[in-house]
């Protein structure tokens, strides 16, 4: 599993990459009350705003961490946004991407590096 400075995690799964946000990020955001997911059929570029999450406090964007195509979204989050607070690193994944280049994932932080970053 790899981690971005934007507090996303990326987990390779066959030729796909699963993307979510870290437990640390979920804790900082507070109770999540709304998740807006993208259509599961579009190609996106790194840095595109693909998901909006709203906590009791504010709205935040989740960015596409790499170039590729979004092939599946986690519809369970639309019905139960609180899943992000309960299981950010597991059941509350946001979307699965088919990366334009799987090697793009390697550039991100390891778990140890991420933990160093958040202190």
């Amino acid at each position: 599993m790899k981690f971005t400075e934007e507090h996303e995690w990326l987990k390779p799964e066959g030729d796909l990459v699963v993307v979510g946000i870290t437990e640390h990020a979920a804790e900082q955001l507070g109770d999540i009350v709304f998740v807006e997911l993208p259509e599961p059929d579009g190609s996106v570029s790194k840095g595109d705003e693909v998901v909006v999450i709203e906590s009791v406090k504010a709205a935040s964007d989740i960015l596409a961490p790499i170039d590729g195509e979004i092939v599946e979204v986690n519809t369970a989050l639309a019905d139960n946004p609180g899943l992000v607070n309960e299981d950010a690193m597991g059941k509350a994944w946001f979307f699965k991407m088919k990366p334009a280049n799987m090697a793009d994932v390697d550039g991100y932080m390891t778990e140890a590096e991420y933990k160093d970053m958040i202190g």
């Binding site: 507070g30 009350v33 709304f34 909006v52 009791v56 406090k57 504010a58």
Partner: protein
Amino acid sequence: MADLTDAGLKRTPLHGLHQRLGAKMVRFAGWEMPVQYALGVMKEHLHTRSAAGLFDVSHMGQVILRPRSGRVEDAAAALERLVPVDLLGLKEGRQRYAMFTSEAGGILDDLMVAHRGDHLFLVVNASRAEADIAHMKAHLSDVCEVLPVSGRALLALQGPAAEAVLDGVAHGCKTMHFMDVGVFHAGDAELWVSRSGYTGEDGFEISVPSEKAVGLAGVLLARPEVEPIGLGARDSLRLEAGLCLHGSDIDEGTTPIEADLAWAIQKARREGGAREGGFPGAPRILRELADGPARRRIGFLPEGRAPMRGGTPLFAAEDTAEPVGEVTSGGFGPSVDCPVSMGYVATGLAQPGTQLWGEVRGKRLPATVAELPFRPSRYKR
């Protein structure tokens, strides 16, 4: 989280307690305040509605108006120069909601005024305290001493269990009704208690000497019904209760009539009343009372789950170019389990049931005008 230590922020007497309780602290109106504790905003909100929540609201301004004549009605008559409220009709041991108005009819601040026998006791917003005190000194000093209260903290205990909990500490307060005020003793601490709050729940606001505040908070928090509640849940609670936040829902650009606060202007100050007008902005405010305002504060329910927050423009249709109003407060209502918002729209669109559209992230989403409060209030009348 930004470091608040060197930001020159004021701290309440409960600061150390907040830290021990693991609060997340934020900057608010020049103060370092707890926005949430370990429970988090959602659970804190729900706990307040089901049991009792303890809030530190010591940042709010406490002010005494002491009449130079010794006659409290002189202070009441003087303060009537600045607010559109009947204060001569306010009885001893009672409190009223009021607002300082501007010459243009806007709301400089909203406040509580209590009649405490030989003086009036005011609670004003933290962000406006300094300006309010200067305003009163400029206009009331001939009749009253304007005395900011230092050395007292302010706590709020809110929720259905508040009465039983507080009565165990301040014996007799359970006999109070909504908007009563009184003095009670907890040990050797003199408490100035009002039966009021900012949550839509029954509850109390308690002015306590600063050096006794941590002790009192500790006694209340030791009760299993009581959890500490931060500013985050305070905001969602007051939003569900349809209560205005000064600086968001009301300000110098909104009149009390536009803000749907006409109920706070008693007959004596209205057209044909015993003391008609006589407050800043009276011509506009009385005209709007008679003819209706051009726009009005409303509550509305967005369809779906996406909150419509302050600043969201509102439209009469999905495709019209010109907005008909704007959201002033909005978020998720944990007790109603859906997003809730307040805002202003042209009066013709203010009827409950009217369909509106809010533009969120470039998309027009439907919403329906609703009665306020979103959830019935549970005051003990």
